[in-house]
């Protein structure tokens, strides 16, 4: 009987994550995705499970400055990493949030946090993006409700507000 059939638990390891500036010490199973850890273990439910295979961007978080797909990332490999989630972006009153509300960038809203995270990573790298750059950056985020045109307006406005301070 294999280990798997005997139901032996998969390996666990302690890791340390710095999420939205706060340090967490956790024991994670080797098969846990980062999305699972954020969503189920830390209660940061903004990272959503939508496509479950890295197609939709709804689970996006920023790790070490880059937007990543947390459903495609094993938590055990994130030891020592700094992670920013949509909750952190909102807590910091990033102008994206109000721009998103103003421009109706959500319908059902399930994918919205993933867009906000991706857009935040874009603005951190490129504070003055053009329309095509915004579209390019957000092209990996799927929205079944089809809110796409509103995102472009919101991101450009938030960029403008950020630059003006």
């Amino acid at each position: 009987m294999s280990e798997r059939e005997a139901g032996v638990a998969v390996a666990e390891a302690p890791i340390e994550l710095v999420v939205n500036g706060e340090t967490y010490r956790l024991r994670v199973q080797s098969n846990w995705s980062l999305q699972h850890v954020l969503h189920n273990e830390l209660g940061l439910t903004g990272a959503k499970d939508f496509c479950d295979r890295g197609v939709c961007g709804s689970c996006a978080v920023i790790m070490e400055g880059r937007p990543i797909l947390s459903c495609m990332t094993l938590a055990i490999e994130c030891d020592g990493k700094a992670i920013e989630t949509v909750e952190g972006i909102a807590k910091a009153n990033h102008p994206l949030i109000e721009a998103y509300v103003k421009h109706h960038c959500m319908q059902c809203g399930y994918c919205t946090p993933g867009f906000v995270v991706t857009a935040k990573a874009l603005l951190a790298k490129n504070p003055d993006p053009g329309e095509e750059e915004v579209k390019e950056a957000l092209a990996g985020n799927l929205c079944r409700c089809g809110t796409y045109p509103q995102h472009v307006k919101a991101v450009l406005e938030a960029a403008n507000n950020l630059r003006r301070g």
Partner: protein, 816 residues
């Protein structure tokens, strides 16, 4: 005087007289401050943008177990042996229920509420699958939930338990194509049946005839016949289904992802024989629905709710049952059909007869000709619709059930225009009307019922033509090669509005003792921003500020349920509910206020900017708080009331069921859609370069929300037209692309600009002259790609979606 059909006149007049149902122009009696205004902060906006909005999928309770169901691996088969011993022995597995467990064995999914008398005729048709058990042992399609359900400490352990379950199958023949299933020698899927037809033209909804089509064909200068096939697509909403259930003694508490949670409560009450007053239902934010969370006969609705409740009772712990993305790849759109058309027209574009035979796979959403009745003066119409069983999952409404009607209307009109070499916008105007009558009939109706007499279609067409530069760009088919080598195509279609059909709701309006206003009533949010609109309406009807009104509709326990987000009619129904409740509550408030203003009667008072004032002396004013502060519990040493709470509730029903053309209530608003494409004749690739939607919504209560629906519907519609297709393996009957990588819908980069033009003629039958919008665009856009590609390459594509291989096939280039 307009003739009304005698059979419905009685009900119709009675409902109107009772004030339960309204018809005709609704000229607003109030001043709009919030209604129709841009820039209102949407109620759900911050929660959704900040990641704080909670969905069913996000719910975790202390001690909660995770449950998973086995899905069939065969398109048609029977479980002959199932061995769960290894699964049961797996550490962390807390309960296993098999199909032969006495608690579920032979138990139907939905019991008596399934029937037409309890839900809808359409819901009854959903039960077309021969055996529909809550946990059966026979698979009627690949991916059907059956056999065993497991609850475990984690999702991974539950999945592992399913993998350790040993299942032996007896495989049975399957059929994927509805025309194959119709052949005389076809295998018959249903035991004991004579054939595979499950809905027949002889059924009530299957045969529609007006006038005499043969006479119409004789009058025609041109008769055209063609066949089109529409393949399956599906909802694919963002949030995969889940339910969380816990028992509190013999009380049941559920968190559901459903458009109509009240149905969930009714159905599970009957299934468990549990009184409804012992059931609490929470409906948090809903990650998309599109009809997919609005079907009581889905396994992924009542079926999963029941299984979770049984597991929770066995284990004494809360249970969350989840489907993953691939398991939610069933529930095809109800427009999987092969359609045979025969159309006659005079050379000036006057259509004399339309005959349609629609052969649906699994389920017939709508026979396909109703919009010609609702919407045109064409005198001779005939439609046969039949549904044929195949080995695919149940089909259902998919934003929306009017898809077959929209496809038929678009293709008939654009074919006629093409055959006659006419501008399709002129053909539309030449045939616009209602139930065989021309526009003079509608003008008379409008005058009799107090509507402005505007020509909505003409206005929509003029606005759309201008936006897309139609007069400059429209050309005969296959005539315009662009400098980039591609062929340019442009097309137009039209329809009536999605009116305020079929809604029932109840809600209360209550003054809190700080003077703010609460709307009380459950409503599932699927993203159409209804709550903001409700608050706008109550604010204006009451005379208070928008920010003084709120709604928290996440729970059914208070007893009121607003019309669910279905059928493009939530707002038009619920606005009437709220106006009635507001009127009553305002009356109560002013009666109470009169006691606090000296020597003033209630009718001498009014409210503006959240202040109650004496109409004859506006400087005499009190805040609402000053009036109601004792009408609610107050803190002294204990809670006490000295006055009764100021709260009023109302109920309203709108629309009659089961009529293609609602008698006496013709649709007056129109919509027009224009699309521009470039077709690469070497690769078959289609690029959509521009879309213009013009929707006469009567009155836009929240313009940004209307635009959102027009944008979103366009993306969904383009996906359906071009890339969204469920593909089954012909050898095994297995659905090959049950994921969002291989079932592709629109991303931000896929299509050119979308222009949205809102027309507000005030000619809707809904509140303030409004009508619906949510389903108007995604149903109209898909078929329009056919005429656009035809205009580009001069060839009709006879199968949807219009993929590059189908374009190449039409060009005779396949296999080159």
């Amino acid at each position: 005087m307009i003739n009304m059909a005698k059979e419905t006149l009685g009900d119709y007049e009675r409902l109107q007289a009772d004030g339960k149902y309204r018809v005709g122009a609704d000229i607003p009696a109030i001043t709009f401050s919030e209604i129709g205004k841009r820039g209102i902060r949407r109620l759900d906006g911050y929660e959704k943008a900040s990641g704080k909005a909670l969905y069913t999928r996000d719910v975790q309770l202390p001690g909660m177990l995770y449950a998973r169901v086995l899905m069939s691996t065969h398109a048609h088969g029977r479980i002959t042996r199932i061995d769960t011993s290894k699964a049961e022995a797996l550490p962390g597995v807390r309960a296993v229920i098999r199909h032969d467990d006495p608690e579920v064995k032979g138990r139907e999914l939905n019991g008596s509420y399934f029937g037409p008398e309890w839900v809808t005729p359409e819901a009854a048709s959903w039960g077309l699958k021969p055996i529909h058990l809550v946990l059966g042992d026979e698979a009627w399609y690949e991916g059907e939930p059956l056999g065993v359900v497991v609850a475990a400490d984690s999702e991974e352990i539950a999945d592992e338990a399913l993998r350790l379950t040993d299942v032996e199958w007896e495989e049975l023949p399957f059929i994927l194509d509805q025309e194959e299933a119709l052949k005389p020698d076809a295998y018959i899927l249903r035991p004991g049946a004579d054939n595979n037809i499950v809905q027949h033209p002889a059924d009530e909804r299957g045969l529609i005839e007006k006038g005499d089509v043969e006479e119409g064909f004789r009058e025609a200068d041109k008769v055209v016949e063609f066949r089109v096939k529409r393949n399956a697509h599906l909802w694919a909403g963002a949030e995969p289904p889940s339910v969380v259930v816990r028992w509190r003694g013999d009380n049941l508490e559920m968190w559901v992802h459903e458009q109509q949670p009240y149905h969930a409560k009714m159905l599970i009450s009957e299934w468990l024989n549990l009184p409804m007053n012992k059931i609490t239902v929470h409906s948090l934010y809903q990650g998309g629905a599109y009809g997919g969370r609005g079907n009581p006969a889905n396994n992924s609705e009542n079926g999963m709710n029941v299984l979770a409740a049984l597991l929770a009772r066995r284990t004494g712990r809360p249970v969350k049952l989840l489907y993953n993305r691939s398991e939610y790849f069933y529930g095809e759109s109800g427009d999987m059909a092969v359609t045979y058309f025969k159309v006659g027209a005079k050379s000036d574009g006057t259509i004399t007869a339309v005959q349609i035979r629609n052969i649906f796979a699994v389920y017939m959403c709508a026979p396909g000709i109703e919009h010609f009745i609702d919407n045109t003066r064409i005198p001779n119409l005939k439609c046969e619709g039949l549904a044929v069983d195949v080995s695919k999952g149940p089909a259902w409404w998919c934003r929306c059930e009017q898809l077959p009607n929209c496809l038929c209307l678009t293709l008939v009109f654009d074919r006629v225009a093409a055959e006659l070499g006419l501008d399709p916008t002129e053909v539309a105007l030449r045939n616009d009307g209602c139930d065989g009558h021309d526009m003079t009939y509608l003008s008379e109706y409008k005058r009799e019922h107090g509507f402005p007499d505007r020509d909505s279609l003409r206005e929509c067409i003029e606005a759309g033509k201008k936006a897309i530069a139609w007069d400059k760009k429209w050309h005969q088919p296959g005539m315009k090669r662009l400098p980039n080598g591609r062929m340019h195509g442009i097309a137009f279609t039209w329809n009536h509005d999605w009116d305020d059909v079929r809604g029932t709701g109840s809600a209360a309006v209550m003054f809190e003792n700080d003077g703010t206003v609460s709307i009380i009533g459950q409503q599932s949010d699927i993203g159409v921003n209804p709550w903001t609109a409700y608050c706008q309406i109550v604010a204006d009807e009451l005379g208070v500020r928008y920010e003084d009104v709120n709604i928290k509709p996440f729970n059914l326990d208070h007893g009121f349920a607003l019309m669910s987000p279905d059928g493009s009619c939530n707002l038009c129904s619920n606005a009437n509910v709220l106006r009635k409740a507001t009127k009553k509550a305002k009356g109560m408030l002013l009666e109470l206020a009169a006691q606090k203003f000296e020597g003033v009667e209630a009718d001498e008072l009014d409210i503006k900017d959240s202040m109650i004032y004496v109409k004859a002396a506006p400087e005499k004013a009190k805040t609402i708080k000053e009036v109601v502060t004792l009408a609610m519990p107050s803190f002294v040493s204990c809670v006490f009331w000295t006055e009764a709470p100021v709260i009023a509730w109302a109920w309203h029903t709108q629309g009659l069921w089961g009529e293609a053309l609602e008698t006496g209530r013709p649709r007056l608003c129109r919509q027009a859609h224009f699309i521009e494409v470039e077709v690469d004749t070497e690769t078959g690739e289609i690029e959509v370069t521009k879309v213009v939607n013009v929707n006469d919504v009567g009155k836009a209560i929240s313009p940004e929300t209307v635009e959102g629906q027009m944008y979103g519907g366009t993306y969904m519609g383009l996906g359906r037209a071009l890339t969204e297709e469920m593909v089954w393996d012909e050898q095994t009957g297995v659905l090959l692309n049950r994921n969002l990588l291989n079932y592709k819908y629109a991303s931000m980069l896929d299509y050119g600009p979308i222009e949205t033009i809102i027309k507000e003629t005030g000619m809707g039958h809904g509140p303030y002259g409004a009508c619906g919008i949510g389903e108007a665009t995604p149903t109209m856009i898909p078929a329009l790609l056919g005429p656009a590609v035809y205009n580009a390459i001069g060839k009709w594509i006879d199968e949807y979606p219009i993929t590059p291989d189908r374009v190449l096939e039409a060009l005779g280039k396949l296999g080159e």
